[in-house]
Every structure is written in structure tokens, then in C-alpha cells.
């Protein structure tokens, strides 16, 4: 009885919320009686407009013509790809090869000679904020390298081929992406190199670059010339807004390189967090990499229908989106999709059972059908934005008895690293997962939290013990006292403290990780995992609708939307739920310093055979950080927040930037000590990579900076090598 009252209250609140949204829509029949949980009855606003209606500028929001469809069985067998067995000198995929392990067998640069590294060239992508534009830049780009060329994208999706030895631009493919299509961040993590199964060698578009854009287009171009592959889609591209229904520019975007598995290119996209419950769908789709023809869709609330939505229909709204880089598996015919949260991230009562089953999970989709073969969930009923930001890394696990298991590493923002059997999604016996009690049901009526959450108990956790009042920090007893008061004012029961009304909660680990999109590096020769991670708690609070309105929070697609009032990754309107949400770092906003004591970022090496931490140390110095945003210039190894991953090489080095000290450094993998560093022209929030041309090893890092990390933005790709006469 009590439960039904609570539900009725929720429905009432939800109904009240709907008034403004519905009022914006001219209703034809005058009686829109939406049922919140029925995806086919979502508010009329989100149904596709009639074909004659003018479309929003930039992104073509809805009712694009269907793509031609093709059966998976009719797709020709894929020829071997450069990424399947990368040449030692190459880096042909985002994480180097199909394993996505960020390991290079190059060994010319070693701990002994790395001190002699010098800049060989700096290449400028040309993409950075124009005067007067709000800074939303964080390029996050990792070039790929095949043959003698680098291929990369700019933050606004121009695609470039660059001479890998000189930095000379060979061609540039302009994408035409507009500023208003930038979602939370103008990022382009990379492009995909694909060799055609149907076009003969020597012909245009035998080797292709596949790129995805912030305004939801999938493009293919000739790797040799940069010219569009006319046989793909409509003049070399397809518009992935097809079937998405109502949207506005910047609401949905693609920022990762799409993988190709057995001839099928699979696309995911980010959907802005915290906007509204019925945000555009998080649908995952597969297309024929040769022609761009549609193969399948995986639509979470419509799991039996793998086709494009019919006229006036759209993929189910508000479903979990996937914004991290996916990993393909040609042998098993799977694509591993790291999923995020349903829309309206901090309130879960309106989610369907299907959504609850696949959010904040790794989902292994069969690339022939688009159906999940298995799902492994890392957070149950997530209301902490613990979506998976990392790309999974494939590896062969060699057990003590000599058996070899196809396995994967699943890094998470929680700092839990799950080690799964790729065939089944089950944890390896050596890396068991325990369901442990979590705070539940929590303070929000009608939205109970899960009673348990999964813990990977054998893999070293990337994190520190729960926060205590005495962990509060500052420059003086006064700002420390301020943070102690903030700590005591908040509700905090350790990890998974549920967000609530009228009182802040501490979210620790925060939504920046643990591990985020930098993912992990893994040396398959030694079995050593390199992981960098954050120690940055957040301060969350649910807002009543009245409070949210007073704070000016509104979704990105509302007519009066003001980008400076709030947006993704922070305070959010969460329209069509009873609550808004306030999310900010757990910090002293007067000094701009975090409330918890340092380190705020770490890097460590873990031996997967012994499950032991070989070394662990803070990552990043205080040189460019300090109170009130002032650089201290101090070389103190304080450990800063970091975004971006590492590279591990056979030369015995780890290359990593990521930290907010704007440096790239080389770490001796044996000792964990810095053996080289250089100050970059911008923040190094990107994954570095390494390659060889004419017997010379190079290391490249995009110093694109990051607006949220408050590091300087630049358009510089910086490339290092040993002096030409020293090897």
C-alpha cells in the first residue's frame, strides 16, 4: 500500500513536470495522455515531425530517408586488416591493434637513452576556439599510423593524412562540422583504417579512412587521396540521425573511432547527460563497411526489432548511451560495447527493466544480428554517472596450469577492474566478482537503490580508502575547516551513497574515475597492466523542480537554453523526472582547490599473473596548478587529475601525459620513476602513441588541452624522436 502511494506521488510529480514540455508542442488531438514507461507512447514532442517540417540547423534531426538495408549474410568476407596483426613499426588502430592494448614492440627508445628525446615536428590541426567562442575544446586525439603516414582528425572532425617523419600535411578532408554541433566537448579520439574487401589494390578506396563526426555522420574516404568514397552511403557518408527523432545540434555526437568487425562498421554515440528523461536513443548500429548499407540496430527498449524505424517512428528514447571507444572481435564475431546510463542520470525510477539490465555494462553484441550474446554489468541501477568511459582491452590469459583463455580487461570509473572471459562474459575464476552490500534502499521514495554492487576482489582496486574528515585539505586551517564543514554537511556512507534532496552527498570515487577514457595499457609479453586513475570526489545533490528552475537549469533542446547556466557533466535539468541535479567537484570554490588531500591522480603497474601492484605513484606535478588557478611552478609530484591513457613499449618505457601539469613523461616500467619529461604547448589530455619510420622510433602526443580540466587548449600534435645521428 505504502509503495503504491509513493508511486502515485512520483507519477504526480512527473505529470507536473510535463506541463511545460507539453505546452511547447502543438497537440493535434488535444489529448496527449502519455504513459511514462511506455517507449512507444513517449510525449508527442519527440515523435518525428512530418516530412515537410523544416529541420533544425546543422544536424538533420529526424525523418531522414531510410538507408538501404543489407543482410549480414550478403556482406563479403573481410580481407585481413592492418590492425589484425600490426606491423611492428605501425599503430594502425586507436589502441594500436585489434587487442587495443596500447603496447608497441618498438625498443629503440629505452630508459638509458630517452633523456635525449627531442621534438622532431609539431603539426597544427587548425581547430581551436575562435575569439568569443566558449571554450568547449578537448581534442583527445590519438593519430593512427600505417605505412609512412599518420591519419588523424581535428577536434571538429577534419581528417588529415600527415607524413609520419616530417609532419607535412599530405591531404585534408574538410568535414564541415559547425560550432553548434559541439556537445559537451569538441573531441575526436581517432579514425579507423579499413582495407576494402571489394575494391582491388591500386584502385581508389582500396584502403579507406572511416571517421565519425560530432554532427552524427559516418564518412569514408580514400586513404591515399582523402577523396570521399562515393560507393559508401550517399556520396561517401551516411547521416546517423536517421531514426533518432527529435534532437538539436550537440545533443547527440560521435567522438570515437568506429570499429569494423567482419566487414560491419559499428557506431555508437554520446547523448548529453542530465538533460531529460526522454533524450534521444542510445541505439547501437551496424552498417556494411563497403557500402554504408544498414545491417542492424540494437535498440534497448525494442530488442526484437533490428531494423530502421518505420515512418514517424524512432529508436526508443532515453536508453543508455555508449560514448567510449568500442572493441571488436573478429574471431568471436562480437563487438564489446561499453555502455553508460539511461538518460536522466541521477534518477532511476523511470527506467525500464531492459535498460536496467544493460546500463553501465559491457555488452557483447553479435555483429551479424545486433543481439547481445552476453552482458556484464559493473554498476546496478547507476545514479552516479559511473558509465564506462574506458575501451576494453583484449588479451590471452595464461593460467597457472597452462590453459589459455580469451579474456578482456574492463576498467571502470569505480576503480574496479573486471577480468572477463570474452566468450561468455563471465569473470575468470582467478578474478572472481562478489556482490557486496551497498546503501539501500536510499532516501528517494519510489526509487530504491540496488541492495548489492559488484566488486572485482582479486584485481588491485584503483583507489584509496573511504574519505574521513581528517582527509580534508587546504592551504591553511581555515580553508581546511571549510572543507571539514562541507564533509560533515554531506551525507556520506562510503561508495554508492545515494543522491538525495535537501542534503549534498559525497560521490567517491567521482565520475571522472578511477579509470576514464584513457583506458589501460597492457604488455602481453610481461603481463603488466599500466593504469592511471583519478582521486577526485564529487559533491552531488538532487534538486526539487522549483530549485532547478530557480537555478536556470533547462535541457539543451529547450527554446531558452543558455549554455552557461548548466549542461552536461554538471548541474542538469533532468527534465521529465521529478528532480534536477547539482553536481560539482568536492572542492572549495573560492580557492579552486579540491577538499580532499592529494594525490588527485595516480599511475601504477600491476602484474596480472601475481595480481600484485609493482609500483604506484602520483601522476603530475604542481608546476601548472595551485590555489585560485595560479601555477605554483613547483616540481612537487603532487599527483593531479588526469585524462588520457598511456603507451607501454618493449623498450621498457611507459609514455603518458594526461595530468594537468601539461607535461609528457617517460616512466621506467621497472622502477616507476620518471626518466624524461617535456612541457607541452597545451594540456596533454590524450592517449600518446609510438611508431617507426625508416628505422627511427617516434612518440606522438596531441596537446589539445581540456576545457573541464582547465588546461590550455592548443591544436598541436607534438612528435619526438632521438637525434637522427644517435641510433
Amino acid at each position: 500500500m505504502r509503495k503504491s502511494i509513493a508511486l502515485a506521488t512520483t507519477a504526480l510529480l512527473g505529470g507536473a513536470l510535463f506541463q511545460p514540455a507539453v505546452a511547447q508542442v502543438r497537440t493535434s488531438d488535444g489529448a496527449p495522455s502519455e504513459t511514462m514507461n511506455d517507449q512507444q507512447n513517449v510525449p508527442e514532442k519527440f515523435r518525428a515531425p512530418p516530412p515537410s517540417a523544416p529541420q533544425a540547423p546543422g544536424v538533420n534531426a529526424a525523418n531522414l530517408p531510410d538507408n538501404p538495408e543489407i543482410n549480414a549474410a550478403d556482406i563479403p568476407p573481410m580481407v585481413p586488416q592492418a590492425s589484425a596483426n600490426p606491423a611492428p613499426a605501425d599503430w594502425p588502430a586507436y589502441g594500436r591493434g585489434d587487442a587495443q592494448n596500447r603496447y608497441s614492440p618498438l625498443a629503440q627508445i629505452t630508459p638509458e637513452n630517452v633523456g635525449k628525446l627531442q621534438r622532431v615536428f609539431v603539426y597544427h590541426t587548425g581547430s581551436k576556439p575562435a575569439p568569443g567562442q566558449q571554450n568547449k575544446w578537448a581534442a583527445e586525439t590519438t593519430p593512427i599510423k600505417v605505412g609512412d603516414s599518420l591519419y588523424m582528425c581535428s577536434a571538429l572532425n577534419d581528417v588529415m593524412r600527415i607524413d609520419a617523419a616530417t609532419g607535412k600535411e599530405i591531404w585534408r578532408h574538410a568535414s564541415g562540422v559547425k560550432y553548434q554541433s559541439i556537445p559537451y566537448t569538441a573531441a575526436c579520439k581517432g579514425v579507423t583504417y579499413y582495407t576494402s574487401s571489394t575494391v582491388q589494390e591500386g584502385q581508389p578506396c582500396h584502403n579507406r579512412i572511416i571517421a565519425s563526426t560530432l554532427d552524427m555522420r559516418l564518412m569514408e574516404m580514400d586513404a591515399e587521396t582523402g577523396k570521399s568514397c562515393e560507393a559508401f552511403g550517399f556520396g561517401g557518408q551516411i547521416n546517423l540521425m536517421q531514426g533518432m527523432g527529435e534532437s538539436v545540434p550537440g545533443f547527440v555526437s560521435m567522438t570515437t573511432p568506429p570499429p569494423v568487425i567482419n566487414g560491419i562498421v559499428v557506431v555508437n554515440h554520446e547523448v548529453l547527460d542530465g538533460q531529460r528523461r526522454w533524450a534521444p536513443s542510445g541505439v547501437i548500429r551496424g552498417y556494411d563497411a563497403e557500402t554504408g548499407k544498414f545491417v542492424w540496430a540494437w535498440d534497448v527498449n525494442n530488442p526484437e526489432d533490428h531494423h530502421q524505424p518505420g515512418p514517424g517512428k524512432f529508436y526508443s528514447r532515453g536508453t543508455p548511451n555508449s560514448w567510449a571507444a568500442m572493441t571488436g572481435d573478429n574471431e568471436l564475431g562480437l563487438v564489446y560495447v561499453p555502455t553508460g546510463n539511461s538518460a536522466g542520470d541521477y534518477y532511476s525510477a523511470l527506467r525500464s527493466d531492459q535498460e536496467n539490465a544493460v546500463s553501465s555494462s559491457v555488452v557483447a553484441l553479435d555483429v551479424k544480428t545486433g543481439s547481445p550474446r552476453w552482458v556484464f554489468q559493473t554498476v546496478h541501477k547507476d545514479v552516479w554517472d559511473y558509465d564506462i568511459g574506458s575501451q576494453v582491452t583484449k588479451f590471452d590469459y595464461k593460467a597457472a596450469d597452462g590453459t589459455v583463455t580469451p579474456a578482456m580487461l574492463v576498467p571502470t570509473k569505480r576503480g574496479q577492474t573486471f577480468v572477463l572471459d570474452r566468450r561468455t562474459g563471465k569473470p575468470l575464476p582467478e578474478f572472481p566478482v562478489e556482490e557486496r552490500a551497498a546503501p539501500s534502499p536510499g532516501p528517494v521514495q519510489g526509487d530504491p537503490r540496488s541492495a548489492t554492487q559488484p566488486w572485482s576482489v582479486a584485481f588491485p582496486r584503483l583507489g584509496f580508502p573511504p574519505l574521513k574528515e581528517s582527509d580534508m585539505w587546504g592551504m591553511s586551517p581555515i580553508d581546511q575547516l571549510f572543507c571539514r564543514i562541507k564533509y560533515r554537511q554531506a551525507d556520506y556512507e562510503g561508495e554508492f551513497t545515494p543522491p538525495r534532496l535537501h542534503r549534498p552527498t559525497i560521490e567517491y570515487p567521482g565520475y571522472n574515475g578511477g579509470s576514464d577514457w584513457g583506458s589501460m595499457a597492457y604488455d602481453p609479453q610481461s603481463g603488466i597492466v599500466i593504469a592511471n586513475w583519478n582521486n577526485t570526489p564529487m559533491y552531488d545533490q538532487l534538486l526539487t523542480r522549483e530549485q532547478a528552475v530557480k537555478q536556470g537549469l533547462m535541457p539543451v533542446d529547450a527554446p531558452g537554453f543558455n549554455p552557461s547556466a548548466g549542461g552536461a557533466e554538471g548541474a542538469g535539468a533532468m527534465a521529465e523526472t521529478p528532480f534536477g541535479v547539482s553536481v560539482e567537484p568536492f572542492w572549495n570554490r573560492f580557492t579552486g582547490m579540491m577538499c580532499n588531500k592529494p594525490p588527485y591522480g595516480m599511475i601504477e603497474a600491476i602484474d596480472i599473473k601475481t595480481k600484485k601492484v609493482l609500483w604506484q605513484r602520483p601522476l603530475g606535478t604542481a608546476r601548472a596548478n595551485g590555489p585560485w588557478g595560479l601555477p605554483t611552478g613547483l616540481p612537487l609530484n603532487i599527483g593531479t587529475p588526469n585524462n588520457g591513457g598511456s603507451v607501454v613499449t618493449a623498450g621498457g618505457l611507459v609514455f603518458v601525459a594526461a595530468a594537468t601539469d601539461n607535461q609528457i613523461r617517460a616512466i621506467d616500467i621497472k622502477t616507476g620513476k620518471d626518466v624524461w619529461s617535456d612541457v607541452l604547448p597545451g594540456g596533454g589530455q590524450a592517449n600518446p602513441m609510438t611508431y617507426e619510420v625508416n628505422g627511427r622510433q617516434y612518440v606522438a602526443i596531441m596537446a589539445g588541452g581540456h576545457h573541464f580540466m582547465m588546461t590550455p587548449v592548443s591544436d598541436a600534435l607534438v612528435v619526438y624522436a632521438l637525434p637522427a645521428d644517435s641510433h
Binding site: S470, W473, S476, P477, I478, D479, L481, I485, R488, K597
Partner: protein, 129 residues
Amino acid sequence: MVSFSKTSGAGRILVPLLGLLIALLGLVLFLGGAYLLFLGGSPYYVLMGTALLLSGYLLGSGDIRGAWLYLASWAATILWTIYEVGFDWWAWLPRDFGPTIIAALVVACLPLLRRQENQDLRSGSFDHA
């Protein structure tokens, strides 16, 4: 009534200024610390706030006992730091860096306060204590 009339010009300004600074810090620590204690947090701040208020008042009055009280509080803070966080040096920064700078200033003011004390004794105007 305390008189600085026969001390140097520097002492006439510096010691009361230091007293005022310590008293202001004490006031902030006292008020914030009382609230923290009310929220269930550490009693250190309200206790230290009380000590600094008193120390600041005494220094402002040219009373050398204000200096001894501050230095005793500073020593107590060091012990409290060891009790609370051990020898985690990052955790020492907020607790001890600023208070140690002020302790150095207080020590630097000791000769002035002593001279003041001697003059007061000589002139017999120390009877207020």
C-alpha cells in the same frame, strides 16, 4: 592601561597588528569550529579558536603571555597533527604551515614584548596584570 609610549615605533605597530591578525584567525576558527563541532566534527578548531582569541587579545594589550599562549597552541597543534595524520606530509600543510609562519612572527616579536615588559616593570605600570 597599557602604554607602548616608551617602546620603539615598530613595536608599537607590529605587536598589536600581530595580535589583531591572531584574534581574527581565532574568531574564524572559533565560529567555524563551533559549527563543525555541532555537525559532529573535530573539537580542535573551536578550542584553537578560543586560544587564539585570547592570545590575540593579550598580544594586543602588549602582554607577553599572549605570545606564550600562541606558542603553546602551536606546539599543541603539532602534537594534534601527529595524532590525527601521523607523518603524512601533505596533510601537514594545512594544519601547520600557516601557524608555523605566525609562530615565527610571534617569536620575532618576543624581544619587543620583553623590552615592553621591562619598561613596564621599571615604570611600575604593569600593575594591571
